[in-house]
Amino acid sequence: MKQNSVAVVGAAETTKMGKIPDVSVIGLHADAALNAMKDAGLNPSDIDGVACAGISPVELAHYLGITPTYADGTSVGGCSFMLHVRHAAAAINEGLCKTVLITHGESGRSRVGAGGFGRSPSSLMGQFEMPYGVTSPPTMFTIPVLRYMKTYGVTEQDLAMVAVVQREWAALNPRSSFKDPISVDDVLNSPMIAWPFRMLMCCLVTDGGGALILTSADRAKDFPTKPVYVLGTGESVETPLVSQMEDFTTSKAFRVSGKKAFDEAGIKHSDVDHLMIYDAFAHLPLYGLEDLGFCKPGEAKDFINGRNTAIGGKLPLNTNGGGLSYMHSGMYGMYALQESVRQLRGVAPAQVKDAKISVSHGVGGMFAASGTIIFGNEKV
């Protein structure tokens, strides 16, 4: 896509976050959408493009009273919203529509109006993974990590430190689910979920949602908030079966998506002021730092142990507290994007001073898919 041709002009999360037993899934989509439209000063009649995952864009458009000329139902898991941003930018540049609304809503904890997590027993996952007792992400996303740990000498303490540092960021965010400080020992003494993963190495399960509104950059100055421009975008998919990943020590989808986004943006890693890496589990920021090229293979643990991603470090990472401490409704990517936008607007609770470029990197499924968006708040 063309750099700086499209901007985020509306961004908001659901009014409440965490435990919301009185709102259904589609209600969470709508609450976030209405908040984002208010943020942008728009009405449903101003929106001519819709994108969402979890529910159909048909349901979304009808529920909100939108008549779109562009609809994107890409649903590849938690990074779907990164792909929606990328596709929306292309659609706006191509003239398919002018103003795109992207929504997420999920009743992950309360399960109000929510579907189940299941695969057909005749699918490849149903035949070649489900019979061995996998349940949900804690027994699938986690499977590659022992190979990664053996290859690079990564310890349980290293994994625990990821959660410890993110809890420090979460303490600065009033909307975080968990704010109390934790130690490496606290993480290693928390209940075993699936060896080597303890409870505090796994994401939260909460309710919530978020929405973004994108339009062309030349219109962006007419909106009430500081425009956040899309500098570069990437996406890729690898396999629906975690057991069939090409290499258990690195995600091909991460590498392909990240490289595409950095190439498009034409920036260096040292230009990045702020980073979001989807953290469904504690190993994901390690894989992300390496696969995006911020660290060499095996060096992310030292980078995190050295407090480079912590408060005051040179690369602030997951400054909202992340999926481990802020919130995780099931498809977390929308919240990573929201935090990137807040940081570049200068309104984040844990604001990174003078942040100009933010990278938001998402994962879908169990290393199945990936999307990367690079934002900037200055026209280059």
Binding site: T139, K150, M192, S243
Partner: protein, 134 residues
């Protein structure tokens, strides 16, 4: 509670017929000889439909795993391994490691394994792996 069973499709039926007979079947590209898994009627590297089914040795090594502390109801009540093994022929597959304690001390990466078959219904036997004997 009966264990969750796969439902074969036309493209995978030969694999499950094989495990029911006590054979682990893979496929390979007849031109390149490269083996692949899971089953499909073409080579995922080249797209060639010129492929054949063959019987694997059943030898493997332990590539990675977790020990699920909260088993699914059909998997019993004790923590159990969910593993990915590296087959001698090249492909990897998900399975369970059986015949040894389900502990990090007993489950050591790269340990040699051999296939065993567990009958879970009249038509389905699952390929599981145990520490290699001898």
């Amino acid at each position: 509670m009966p264990r969750m069973a796969p439902e074969p499709t036309p493209e995978t039926q030969h694999f499950w017929d094989g495990t029911a007979r006590g054979e682990l079947l893979l496929q390979r590209n007849k031109q390149t000889g490269e083996a692949y898994f899971p089953p499909r009627p073409f080579c995922p590297k080249t797209g060639s439909r010129d492929v054949e089914v063959f019987k694997a040795s059943g030898r493997a090594t332990l590539y990675s795993y977790v020990i699920n502390a909260r088993p699914r109801p059909d998997m019993g009540t004790e923590p159990h391994s969910i593993a990915v093994v590296q087959l001698e022929e090249g492909p990897r597959m998900m399975t369970n490691i059986v015949g040894c304690p389900q502990t990090p001390e007993a489950l050591v990466l790269d340990m040699p394994l051999e296939v065993v078959f567990e009958k879970i219904s009249d038509t389905i036997s699952l390929p599981l792996f145990q520490p290699a004997k001898g």
